[in-house]
């Protein structure tokens, strides 16, 4: 994938990611998050990770975002009233985030492998579902089953949490 497309999709992802936290309307935030995830899926495809890119679109841009929009609709959230902003807390939060970004930059700067381009792959990655599935059921069988239990617990927990107390 060319450098041009990389920058297009990286910018798309970052701009709409920033729009998620800048928008005051939750629905606009959720829709910006969908576009951001689609840009991220394109970046996954640029890294020859087809399975992860497709899962990203299906699970995140599909299922999770529908869940968010559904809850926003259920709670009937309007755009927030403008409250008094605590400027000291906001400046502190921005300063911490900025310091974190500078730290990440300096770590990547000192990382020797970061300046290398990606080595060419000689084997086609179009069968990566097969490869990931083999790994999942051979090397990662126990974590896979634990993940199943996590989903079961989450499902039961959600049902318990959202049940209306009738007593």
């Amino acid at each position: 994938m060319s450098a041009f497309l990389f920058w297009i999709f990286a910018l798309l992802m970052l701009v709409f990611g920033a729009a998620v936290i800048i928008n005051r309307n939750p629905v606009a935030s959720a829709l910006s998050l969908v576009v951001s995830f689609l840009g991220l899926a394109a970046l996954f495809l640029s890294l020859d990770a087809y399975f992860v890119g497709i899962i990203q679109v299906l699970v995140y841009a599909g299922a999770i975002m529908v869940l968010f929009l559904f809850i926003i609709m259920l709670l009937d959230l309007r755009g927030e009233k403008l409250r008094k902003i605590n400027w000291i807390a906001s400046a502190g939060g921005l300063a911490v985030a900025f310091a974190l970004m500078l730290q990440i930059f300096s770590v990547v700067e000192k990382f020797p492998a970061a300046k290398q381009t990606f080595p060419p792959i000689t084997r086609s990655t179009s069968d990566d579902v097969h490869r990931i599935g083999l790994l999942l059921f051979n090397n990662y069988n126990l974590p896979f089953q634990v993940i199943g239990v996590v989903i079961l617990v989450a499902t039961v927990g959600v049902v318990v949490l959202s049940r209306r107390e009738t007593r």
């Binding site: 970052l14 936290i21 991220l40 992860v52 974190l100 930059f105 617990v153 949490l161």
Partner: protein
């Protein structure tokens, strides 16, 4: 040419955006969305390292992609539980604003 460092920087910026969202926003649903952004930044650097580490057969390292699969699954479960908590909270207090919920504040 696009190097590994470009992907790591983009992933770092995305993580910072999510972190700033958790720090600055006061709406619980937006905070959950910012958490998703941070998880996805971690996924992006994992996939970049997976593509960077080409093994002897000439294929990318699929262990990282299995890990991304696990992260996506846990994130889906986490969002479901988080949003159920938000719904239960809204039913009790009619708010999603974190400054209105101070029962545990000392």
């Amino acid at each position: 040419m696009v190097t590994l460092g470009h992907y790591l920087i983009v992933s770092g910026i995305l993580f910072t955006i999510g972190f700033a969202g958790v720090m600055l926003r006061r709406n619980i649903i937006i905070i959950l969305m910012a958490l998703e952004l941070m998880l996805n930044a971690a996924n992006l650097s994992l996939v970049a390292f997976s593509r960077f580490h080409v093994d002897v057969t000439g294929a990318p390292d699929y262990n990282a992609q299995v890990f991304v699969f696990f992260i996506i699954t846990v994130a889906a479960a986490e969002v479901a539980v988080g949003l159920a908590i938000v719904v239960a909270l809204f039913r009790l207090r009619q708010t999603t604003h974190v400054e209105d919920i101070t029962s545990l504040k000392f």
